[in-house]
């Protein structure tokens, strides 16, 4: 049975052209870019070219890009790297952040920092006004995600950026789920730090970057060699950087067409569920084009996912990053409350590379039939 993968927000298949960059470059490029000999210099050149692609994709300068091992490291570096410049202080974040942000903030909370976890409304949106109200003189960091990984809401980052303009707090956004799907310009958003991961946009796993606005201070998370201008120690992962850059270029070129395609897939799902007479509700405000999170009254999420899986459909109940847990999602709890049904009857379908209208239609119909069977 050909499996239909609808969990692209958890991780995405690598693009064939990205694999090609890897396989072509890896055997060639074995100079350590910090070495002074020619093979080292060639590696340096490839790395610089990749960095230019990353910078260009978000309207940044090349020197503002720090390569990391992924989104979690970028988020942790943004948060701990900012906190390390202060003895203690206040941090503003939201209740629906990815665990890489949430747990880093909780860690600081345990160490005596004061952390405000802003609530969200029923659509999963943080209000810029709430950020303004929470802001204090000793607020050193505001970290709010751009696109939510579970329900696909897009947060009002540019509004928050504007109101932080006259405040010294550093502004970080986790753009892991939005990058490659939405056009991003760090200046329009008004952010100081922005995290990105390659494996969500058909790039290789184990690489990401942190954008660090020039002049914004950040202490390193990893100590060692002087790579990445002393901001991130460890031999640079040149082949992965080049492969990641390829994935970014493809994503930039195909962004609009894909958004349209994914919106059609959402419609296919909506129609299939309506066709079976299933009274579903969409969680979130239908914003990120590739994420469809629906609540189906009367369904148990575990049997639903198991049955989908048996039918060859890979979907999830939310974030994969809570390491195999089927606990109600913290995002849905923040939206609807601890005891709400949505926390136990919601499924996330997320779209990406390799899908066609045919396969999505097949998946949508099977999913709707299973839902009908389970809710009867």
């Amino acid at each position: 049975m050909e499996r239909i993968y609808l969990d692209h927000a958890a991780t995405s298949p690598i693009h064939p052209d990205v694999v090609r960059v890897f396989t072509e470059l890896l055997p060639e490029l074995y100079g350590n870019p910090s070495s002074i000999h020619d093979t080292g210099r060639k590696s340096r050149k490839v790395l610089d070219d990749a960095r230019a692609v990353f910078a260009g994709s978000i309207g940044a300068q090349e020197s503002e890009i720090i390569l990391t091992s992924g989104g979690t490291e970028a988020d942790n570096m943004a948060i701990f790297g900012t906190a390390a410049n202060h003895k203690k202080g206040h941090i503003i974040t939201s209740a629906i952040e990815h665990h890489a942000v949430l747990n880093a903030c909780k860690r600081l909370d345990q160490q005596g920092w004061d952390v405000t976890f802003l609530p969200v409304d029923e659509n999963g949106l943080v209000r810029a006004e709430d950020v303004r109200e929470a802001l204090r003189d000793d607020t050193v960091l505001v970290t709010i995600m751009l696109g939510n990984n579970e329900v696909g809401t897009i947060q009002p980052i540019a509004d928050i950026g504007r109101l932080l303009q006259d405040h010294p707090a550093v502004f970080h956004t986790d753009a892991v789920q939005a990058y490659g799907v939405l056009p991003i310009d760090v200046n329009k958003l008004g952010v100081d730090l922005l995290s990105v991961s390659a494996h969500k946009l058909n790039g290789p796993k184990g690489i990401g970057f942190l954008y660090q606005r020039k002049g914004v201070k950040l202490s390193p998370l990893l100590f060692g060699g002087e790579q990445e201008k002393k901001r991130r120690a460890g031999t640079e992962n040149v082949p992965a950087a080049a492969a990641f850059a390829k994935a970014v270029s493809i994503a930039q070129e195909t962004m609009e067409a894909k958004a349209e395609e994914f919106r059609r897939y959402k419609d296919i799902f909506r129609e299939a569920f309506r066709g079976q007479g299933i009274p579903f509700k969409e969680n979130g405000a239908d914003q990120l084009p590739h994420v469809l999170n629906i609540s189906i009254p009367g369904i148990g999420i575990e049997p639903f996912l198991v049955n989908l899986d048996l039918a060859g459909i890979s979907a999830s109940s939310g974030s994969a990053c809570t390491a195999g847990s089927v606990e109600p999602s913290h995002v849905l709890i923040a939206m609807y409350g601890e005891s709400a049904d949505e926390g136990r009857n919601s499924v996330r379908f997320s779209f990406g590379l390799g899908l066609t209208e045919e396969t999505v239609t097949e998946a949508a119909q099977k999913a709707a039939q299973i839902a009908a069977r389970l809710t009867n």
Partner: protein, 370 residues
């Protein structure tokens, strides 16, 4: 090209690359996902973990982004977790920067770091370790093989002394795993290995342990037993295990090492800095009165790639901390070069080196062998 800089980084092995790309294409799912594709990825990840553990002779494996992260995790992780128990850490002055700079950071946090002295052979003495051990020593971190000189530290003897202590023993085995037996007899508690020194894929390392109390550096989804958050890269893990399995010591390394030592005897101003009993695949030497960079460039004209000292410090203008610690004379210290063999080095590379060195030396020094 004749590549003799394998201690800086290595060329990936085709089989390892194949494992990486196949895993990327066929096991791309998130191993934390609950569906079948996630389970398949998780199975492959656990297979890679078991194989890696077996090959290293260690019980637990944490996959990391490389040697630097593994060393950082072992050291800051242990220190920050145990700071209530003690604040004393013992190491040596010839460790890799990812160890020394991490220790410097911990000193700022109030930890007390003792660096054991090293002899002219670069070795620490077990007796010194015994003397410096305190009740509040929580961690001892000593590398197995030095990346610049090839010095092999007496890990088993150090481990034996530490048996009577509660301190954790971490060994940076980045320069030895796969190239030297790790059968120390007495096992360290924690061990760092990096893939790209083993013809593996870059961006991949492990922190292996038998016993550990670690506070994570990366917080998030709680992957890797909570020790290291972040989506685990299954292709990196699978190709790590493959690279480690395929990396076996080559008996020819020792022969080439002896051959080159003999060869350098023909040059008056060349001194070998690596100890006789060092790792056979690293040979560090120095030419009196010239800059290492000049020699490196001249060799490169002949297609021969070697390096000055370690890649991680070669861009700095200052001289190597390792060579300062072992006490190299001033007239030699700027002329340092390092030759390092790997799993793909052949006799042809050695012959090409000798020829290129002879011509480069004559060009630079304006003289020939005596």
């Amino acid at each position: 090209m004749f590549y003799l800089d394998n201690s800086a980084t290595t060329k990936v092995r085709p089989e390892v690359l194949r494992t990486f790309t196949e895993a990327s294409e066929n096991f791309f799912a998130n191993p934390a996902s609950l569906h079948r594709l996630g389970n398949e990825a998780e199975d492959l990840l656990e297979e890679a973990r078991q194989l890696t553990g077996r090959l290293l002779g260690m019980e637990h494996i944490i996959f990391t982004s490389g040697g630097t992260e593994a060393n950082n995790l072992a050291i800051t992780g242990t220190a920050r977790e145990l700071k209530g128990r003690g604040k004393h850490i013992i190491s040596s002055p010839t460790e890799h920067p990812s160890v020394l700079n991490t220790l410097a950071e911990l000193e700022k946090e109030g930890f007390d770091v003792t660096l054991l002295p090293v002899g002219a052979d670069g070795k620490v003495s077990p007796e010194d370790l015994r003397k410096q051990l305190r009740k509040d020593t929580i961690l001892v971190t000593i590398m197995h093989v030095n990346n610049e000189t090839g010095t092999v530290q007496p890990i088993a003897e150090l481990a034996r002394i530490l048996q009577e202590s509660r301190a954790y023993f971490h060994v940076d085995a980045v320069q030895s795993a796969g190239r030297m037996p790790l059968d120390f007899g007495m096992k360290p508690d924690l061990l760092t290995v990096s893939a790209h020194k083993l013809h593996g894929v870059k961006g991949s390392g492990v922190l292996a342990f038998n016993r550990a109390e670690l506070r994570p550096i990366l917080h998030g989804g709680g992957q890797e037993g909570g020790y290291r958050s972040g989506t685990v890269s299954v292709p990196h893990a699978a190709s790590f295990a493959k690279a480690l399995r395929l990396m076996i010591p080559n008996p020819e390394w020792g022969e080439w090492n002896r051959e080159l030592r003999g060869f350098f005897k023909g040059y008056r101003d060349v001194r070998i800095l690596s100890p006789e009993d060092g790792a056979p695949y690293i040979l560090c030497g120095a030419v009196r009165g010239i800059k290492g960079e000049v020699l490196i460039s001249a060799l490169q004209e002949h297609g021969v790639i070697i390096s000055t000292s370690s890649a991680c410090s070669s861009k700095k203008q200052q001289t190597s901390h390792v060579l300062e610690a072992i006490g190299v004379e001033d007239s030699f210290i700027k002329g340092v070069f390092r030759i390092s063999f790997g799993g793909m080095t052949s006799g042809e590379d050695i012959q090409a080196f000798k020829k290129a060195f002879h011509e480069s030396y004559r060009l630079i020094k304006g003289e020939t062998a005596r």
